[in-house]
């Protein structure tokens, strides 16, 4: 987990770069499911390969970033575009009962599946009632 401090400093120095970055950034659509074991996040990120995907946890904030790459030969011009962006970015705050050291991530066919387990002491326990 690298610090993003350097990254933030660069952004402040170059507001124009940051502006064009924001304009080309899309919000990936997600499903978030919770059960006794933890939380599962599923995100649609077509065009992102595992090489261009960056998942970080900093101060309880989970951030997902991915670069969209499409195979286009030179000399091709866009004539119709419903997807307008070159990258995905989305952040979520996590809560303390989640064990961020044991996050599992899997990217397949442009879908990211992330599992954040709950710490053992926070999992629900069945309490026996003595008769």
């Amino acid at each position: 987990m690298n610090s993003t401090r350097q990254d933030l400093a660069t952004r402040e120095d170059h507001p124009r770069i940051e502006q064009s970055r924001a304009r080309n950034t899309l919000l990936p659509l997600v499903d978030i499911f919770e059960d006794e074991e933890g939380i599962v996040l599923v995100a649609d990120m077509p065009g992102v390969s595992s090489r261009d995907l960056d998942i970080q946890v900093n101060d309880n904030v989970l951030s997902l970033e991915g670069e969209i790459k499409v195979d286009v030969p030179s000399g091709t011009e866009a004539s119709f575009a419903e997807l307008r962006g070159t990258r995905y970015e989305r952040r979520f705050t996590l809560s303390r009962e989640l064990d961020t050291d044991r996050i599992e991530a899997d990217l397949k066919n442009g879908v990211l599946r992330l599992r954040v387990p709950k710490r053992a002491e926070h999992r629900p326990r069945r309490i026996e009632i003595k008769s």
């Binding site: 990120m45 077509p46 499409v70 286009v72 091709t76 119709f80 962006g85 397949k108 442009g110 879908v111």
Partner: protein
């Protein structure tokens, strides 16, 4: 340039397109759209790129396999049909969904390609959740180099 397909920035109308893009992000629809275009949040989204010798259609269909997609080209109308199932493993009554933004179910989408395409020269491939359909243009509309005969 793959970048131009995604960012919709053109050299001549750069600022105008940018304004349109900004308006697009404010309102879900502009008053002017392609007859077969789909509203924001539809599945799958489609981009089309064109060069002098081919047309490339990019279908953003994450979570699907090549086998799940039924692609048809009739004259110059390309249609894509398929079904995306919800994530398996989530049994009802065993937990809760906080968000369900992703599409699941059956879909059919169609786009019209230029009249200059050759419906018999089609190729399709699938990578990282993007289906790419490449259709060659007919030979007679492709640019040809004309030989200039030397005067003897």
């Amino acid at each position: 340039m793959w970048n131009s397909i995604l960012s919709w920035e053109r050299p001549f109308f750069g600022q105008l397109d940018q304004l349109r893009h900004d308006l697009d992000s404010l309102f879900s629809e502009t008053g002017f759209s392609d007859i077969r275009s789909a509203p924001r949040g539809s599945f799958p989204l489609i981009n089309i790129g064109e060069s002098t010798d081919e047309v490339r259609v990019f279908v953003f269909a994450p979570g699907m396999n090549a086998d799940d997609l039924d692609v048809n080209l009739q004259n110059n109308v390309l249609s894509i049909h398929g079904r995306r199932s919800a994530e398996p493993g989530q049994q009802p009554g065993q937990g809760l969904y906080h968000r369900r933004e992703r599409f699941d179910g059956e879909f059919t989408r169609a786009v019209s390609l230029p009249d200059t395409v050759n419906p018999n020269a089609v190729e399709a491939s699938f990578k990282d959740g993007i289906l790419t359909v490449t259709v060659k243009k007919r030979a007679e509309v492709q640019p040809r180099r004309i030989k200039v005969k030397a005067d003897k």
